[in-house]
């Protein structure tokens, strides 16, 4: 059984349908990558999975429980964390407060302290500047904070929406290697990326989304060498 199962999902904004019947699965321990051009419906898909938007039809199952009608704040408690597009850190709160908000749904105070330390080990810069308002951080640092914050809920499945957006190549590498680290520590990952090459390299499985439809799927390696992906997403011909 897959950890996450999306079945024939449709999502509309008013009359405009952004996701037009997609199905995909994420297995326990996998890194699954969702790629596609601007406006393909990637963010919409993630926001629907985490309960911020309601689908017009279709089903979403997480660990054998149907979640497409569960309120967003309860979905986090099931072990599904979402690091949103554009980072969306809380700018006027400190780094530490941002991280603690990631653990809002938890009550195990001792373990939360440990996880705070773990986040500071994963991203030392966060520890050094833990009392600073997060709004003063650079884009890369904010991305680390957003990922650290998502990890504070101890997710089984972590969804990352374009973590490398607007980052320097070095910073991007750091983010991607963190994704690997998290996977090796047992977190399953659903990754949305514009940077298809970096994402597919570390993905077990990938789906290509085009204007609301899944047009292609396969293992990371299969997609990396497929003609369509190379033309459309890797800028090769």
């Amino acid at each position: 059984m897959s950890m996450l199962e999306v079945k024939d999902l449709r999502v509309a904004y008013g009359k405009i349908e952004a996701v037009k019947g997609i199905s995909f699965t994420v297995g326990q321990g996998e890194v699954v990558c969702l790629i596609g051009t601007n406006g393909a419906g990637k963010t919409t898909t993630l926001r629907t999975i985490s309960g911020l938007i309601r689908p017009s039809s279709g089903e979403i199952w997480f660990e054998g429980k149907r979640i497409d009608a569960v309120p967003a704040h309860e979905i986090v408690m099931l072990g599904l964390a979402h690091s949103p597009e554009g980072r969306r850190i809380f700018p006027r709160l400190t780094v530490e407060e941002n991280l603690l908000l990631g653990a809002f749904a938890r009550n195990d105070h001792g373990a939360i302290k440990d996880d705070l330390q773990a986040a500071y080990e994963l991203f030392p810069i966060l520890g050094e500047r833990s009392k600073q308002p997060a709004g003063t951080f650079s884009g890369g640092e904010q991305q680390m904070l957003a990922m650290g914050r998502a990890m504070m809920s101890r997710p089984k499945l972590l969804m990352l929406d374009e973590p490398s957006m607007g980052l320097s190549p070095i910073m991007m590498q750091l983010i991607m290697s963190t994704v690997k680290t998290l996977r090796s520590q047992g977190t399953t990952i659903l990754l949305v990326e514009q940077n298809a090459r970096a994402a597919l390299k570390l993905a077990d499985k990938g789906y290509v989304l085009e204007v609301g439809h899944i047009v292609l799927d396969g293992t990371g390696d299969e997609l990396l060498v497929s003609d369509e992906v190379r033309k459309a997403y890797l800028g090769e011909d």
């Binding site: 309960g51 911020l52 704040h73 986090v76 964390a81 809380f90 006027r92 809002f104």
Partner: protein, 307 residues
Amino acid sequence: MDLFFQQLLNGLTLGSLYALIAVGYTVVYGIVQLINFAHGEVFMIGAFGALATWTMLFKGTTAIWVLPFMIVGAIAVSVTVAVVMERVAYRPLRNAPRLAPLITAIGISVFLQEAIRLFYPGAKSAMPFPQIEFVTGAAMEWGPLTVRRSALFTIGALIMCTAALWFFINRTKLGRGMLAVSQDKDTARLMGINVDRIVAVAFALGATLAGIAGVAQGLQNNNIDFFMGFLAGLKAFTAAVLGGIGNIMGAVVGGLVLGIVEAMAVQFIPGTFGGSPWKDVWAFALLIIVLVFRPQGILGAKTVDRA
């Protein structure tokens, strides 16, 4: 000079009352961007809650120990009314155009005033508020200053509420959740925060302070009436805007500034425009001046903030 300090004290007293009510406008605005114009009535109903508690349980007693019970009674009634009002009237309108909740607020105001006027026994005219010896007894003379005991109660209440509020916002998990919701609702939901619950907490928080203010007003004025929330609410809203709507400490500062300006204007503006008939004019003139030159308010910030 003595006169100046006397008026400063009077202004601080008045301002403390405004500030206690103003927090309710600002907290709710910071969380849901809604001006709850029925908040003045939450204050009024708190005063009646205190009166009812005294009438039913302690009638005839003037000892200080009944005061905490009256405060609890006031808060219980204020909080209940505010939370029910949010649940029944405002929540269904959360995504409606802005005019809808505004009109609803006016409707709730009239409803609450009329409910008290018609159904609270004797409330068709002003009702005497219980005298509690320790806080309404003879005024004290501190050198040249005349200090009313009820003034000390009001200022003390503001100091304690402000400290408690600061602690709640900055040091508790629920307070942190409130800051998060005021900054970014969707992301707050992704953190596992129940936004509906935080909105209810914001209404309850504002109502708690309004209930305490209702008791303070009763003690100061010796009587209360169903219409007392109108002007007090308008002034407190002015105070919240003065301080920077959405900014909690701004509401406190705005309340105190407004109270002091009123007290000074009454005493020191000479001639036709001085004296108490003009104090409301000066209060609103101050609002206009601040809105023109510093539209974000004295402390600024558009969201619930600790500043």
